[in-house]
Symmetry: C2
Subunit: 403 residues, 2 copies
């Protein structure tokens, strides 16, 4: 008998029909004599619809009320999933996240899990019930309902798996697992059998958003092995766990992010602290800066380029113009016609020369590289957006298909 | 400064636009230096839609999960109403019913309020906030979410008004108040300014369903004076309170219920306990029997007729046939072509002869009366459904328009 945590995302629960199919899958596992905890997201586009509704009554919906509103989405899924399980003859016990022992801090819309008390869940499991828990939500101080941020249901599942010392944690989604590249763009993309936590983390920042980073970080911290697999198709999916560098593929995946824009500040007088001033200003407005390149130039002036999410461009640009003015910069420009191509692999760590191969592959494809950023297990290049597809193909050919 | 509880029903909150209008109304009252507690129902047809969804995954949705599901409806309203109030510059604090101190028993889908702890609400009111509470729901033992049954939001409002010792309790709805008859059927129907609890209670059983009976019973028990008025129209509405018999109108309202059916059992051998056997059997299947007429007949045989809700007819009929067989009855018949016309008035108590006037009025209108049932303050007559409208008109003319 194993204890299994299974998480189902909104697309797997979009209709009553789908909920019934998922329930049948859950019941089948239970009847193999396992204990099952099911973590559910809100049905389909529920969360987006609720946010739209909130925006109709408030120009910037306050966090406390937004959490109360959004938490209803997963509650509906919990209730329906529990019913569907009971219709199949098994006993179910459904919990909103805030009654399932998930205690968080009080930061609305992106609360952190502080503590999980799994006693109630354990009790129900031992009574032979299938436990259904609302993902994405918890209970903050003074009985306030909190939510864990976009994709927070993954975090709920991983955190419950950790606190229950589950034998398996399965993240069910609408794709068969994690691929070496987006199969819609690269027909030769392959399912990755096994991925390191670090690789999964880097992927979240490269446009291949399979899972919320915080969930993967949590899994890494508590060494929760989990798999990502398809709800309605058979298959083992991708297992994510601790991988020793020597076991890993040099490059495990290739991805592209076309939701980035580049801002450049030209000829800033090169004094200590200029970058700090600029990026602190952006940070205080919650603008996420991804790549940063600064070349200290001629005659004590520097050029600084950085990328931000396309949605933040306008706000970032006006802030940058303001700060650049104070710093005495010559000019600020923006470019929203870029794409970021990335390769990720834990094996890079002991394979020098990967960067060189990447640049050469792009060069051979006739792609000009505009910015470069590297980490221990990732190399990202900014290219023209028109070059995105051929860059992706070139990188996939070089690092995946050749192996 | 007064403490005012205002309850808004689903039709008053059906869209974001309506929620904003209600919020403006609430804020205006707050700015007249009052403390305001707002009790909200689920938006529009939300509850019906959720029940339909539940029926898609379970042939008979279990109460515990159904409560969890339905409770989301009012939570959405609470969140949106709080946001809309804050958008107008006032502070709001929204609570699901189960965090607002409303403790119930564990009877799902029709829980009873056991205790209200208004400390948290009081604290927020004293901090100058508008408190928004989800109607219809409470917290049962062991942190289970319960609901109070159809129309339970009225009960929440009345119960909160009682426990907070509110100065005013206002039940807002989509009509301007309680009328002497349905204005759609009787154009001369008038708004009733003042109604006794008992009259309001009797109305709930006569087809003029303005409010849940339990809410009115609760108000009567705790002497909560409340008014029923329109959300979007001006007007004082109808005040419901304790009324001395001598103050009341002889007949305050006239109504018709066309959702009844009649079952008759002919020639039951007249032994003690036959009625008990029959109505216990119906009661154990939760079939609500309204009027009962038994005439102990010739040669130790009796005929029994009774009415049930049209929706229960089939079930009631098959149960009755079963029991009638055991009792040795000659025949069972059903009639779904009836209507029940009622007059209600606390003043009847010390005005003898009202029944006689009623029967005469119907006779003058050429209506044949098939069954009669009376209480201290109500007279109901079963007539052919085709006669419903002229019966209603005759009774309204006789008792209301003449005065």
């Amino acid at each position: 008998m194993a204890l299994i945590v299974q998480k189902f995302g909104g697309s797997s629960l979009a209709t009553a029909e789908k909920i019934k199919k998922v329930a049948a899958r859950v019941v089948a596992v239970k009847r193999q004599n396992h204990q099952v905890v099911v973590v559910v997201s809100a049905m389909g586009k529920t969360t987006d619809n609720l946010i739209a509704l909130a925006r109709q009554v408030h120009h910037q919906p306050p966090g406390r009320e937004l959490d109360l509103l959004l938490a209803t989405g997963e509650m509906v899924s919990v209730a329906l999933m529990s019913m569907a399980i009971e219709e199949l003859g098994e006993e179910a016990e459904g919990f909103p996240g805030y009654f399932a022992g998930i205690k968080t801090d009080s930061v609305h819309t992106k609360a952190r899990i502080m503590k999980i008390d799994p006693a109630r869940i354990r009790k129900e499991l031992e009574a032979g019930k299938i436990v259904v828990v609302a993902g994405f939500q918890g209970l903050g101080p003074e009985n306030i309902i909190t939510t864990l941020g976009r994709g927070g249901s993954d975090l709920t599942a991983i955190a419950l798996a950790a606190s229950l010392k589950a034998d398996l944690c399965e993240i069910y989604t609408d794709v068969p697992g994690v691929f070496t590249a987006d199969p819609h763009r690269i027909p030769g993309a392959r399912l990755i059998r096994c991925l390191a936590y670090e690789e999964m983390l880097e992927m979240a920042s490269t446009g291949a958003k399979v899972m919320q980073s915080r969930a993967v970080e949590f899994a890494k911290k508590y060494q929760v092995v989990f798999s990502v697999k398809s709800t309605f198709e058979e298959g083992e999916g991708t297992m994510v766990k601790e991988i020793e560098v020597q076991e890993g593929a040099v490059v495990s995946s290739v991805s592209v992010d076309e939701n980035q824009a580049k801002i450049s500040v030209f000829r800033v007088p090169d004094r200590p602290g200029i970058a700090a001033k600029l990026f602190q200003a952006l940070g205080s407005e919650n603008i996420n800066v991804d790549m940063i390149v600064q070349n200290v130039g001629r005659d004590n002036h520097a050029d600084i380029s950085f990328t931000v999410n396309l949605t933040d461009l306008e706000k970032a640009l006006s802030l940058t113009r303001e700060v650049a003015g104070c710093l005495g910069a010559e000019r600020v420009s923006a470019d929203d016609d870029i794409a970021k191509v990335s390769i990720i692999g834990i094996g890079m760590m002991n394979h020098p020369g990967v960067a060189g191969r990447m640049f050469q592959a792009l060069a051979r494809a006739g792609v000009n590289i505009e910015m470069i950023s590297t980490s221990e297990i990732k190399i990202s290049c900014v290219v023209r957006r028109a070059d995105a597809q051929k860059s992706l193909e070139a990188a996939h050919r070089e690092f995946i298909e050749k192996n």
